[in-house]
Amino acid sequence: MFFHMVLERNMQLHPRYFGPHLHEKLTTKLVKDVEGTCSGKHGFVVAVTKVESIGKGLIREGTGFVTFPVKYQCVVFRPFRGEILEAVVTLVNKMGFFAEAGPVNIFVSNHLIPDDMEFQSGDIPNYTTSDGSVKIQKDSEVRLKIIGVRVDAAEIFCIGTIKDDFLGVINDPDATA
């Protein structure tokens, strides 16, 4: 799920930048440091939308660098256990399939794929129902439920299921039950 949040960060700046463009320099540095990163708490920072405030700088003992507390607004993506969302299938194999929802990768194990879907190997590996009416392959759009979220250094990884009601391949305009 995407959120719009206000986050805070302490930015350190070298004295060479103390001049008329100090705030601009801090903003550029903030965007470079923070956009695209991921934390367990807030998820992925997708984009900084606005710098709300830059506090008074404090000179650090011994180095001359100055620390500024910066408050900024940003769009983050944070998946939650129990959340239901739509994703694109990126890889299918006999263990299950991988799907991508924005910056996050989700793995759905074959144990959490409905029993009436079987793995078919070949040029385009896929999971298909016995009557061939529903197929999951690379680039299919699926609706899944996240059942586990793991944070790894700078990445979030999820496991999901499509075994519950109203989950599975998205067939516009009819919803699959």
């Binding site: 799920m1 984009a47 769009v75 129990g82």
Partner: protein
């Protein structure tokens, strides 16, 4: 709270910070990221070099999974959903998945049945029908 173990979006247990934060539907994020991308295009010849992979993947994702395309309709959708006493998170899941039946809506957002916010299923049905009307006339 031992975060990872107790967290459960199906029960709206997503932590104080996120419960209070503004939630965004995919269509709203699409408008925000488009604007940002435009700003980057105006400032440099090669906007893609300024964006992270996270940004690009998110942009592709919201463009693909936005049910509503223009900003007027997006505003209407939020307005229709806000008429009911929904939490931000619940509102956005409904706006993203656009369930067609009451049964589906309850499966997607189990918490709408709790706390007596909807007198009965008809109230939920009305909300879903209002939502699908917007899509029809987009």
């Amino acid at each position: 709270m031992s975060a990872e173990e107790e967290e459960n979006a199906a029960e709206l247990k997503i932590g104080e910070e996120f419960l209070k934060a503004k939630c965004l539907m995919n269509c709203e994020v699409s408008l925000i990221l488009d604007k940002k991308y435009e700003q980057l295009q105006n400032m440099s010849d090669d906007p893609l070099s300024q964006t992270s992979q996270v940004f690009e993947k998110s942009l592709q994702y919201v463009k693909r999974f936005s049910r509503y395309k223009n900003s007027e309709t997006v505003k209407q959708v939020r307005e229709v959903l806000s008429r009911n006493r929904l939490a931000e998170f619940e509102l956005c899941v409904l706006g993203n998945l656009c369930p067609e039946t009451v049964e589906e809506a309850i499966a997607m957002v189990p918490t709408i049945k709790s706390k007596g916010r909807f007198q009965d299923d008809d109230a939920i049905d009305k909300m879903l029908r209002d939502l699908s009307l917007i899509k029809k006339f987009e």
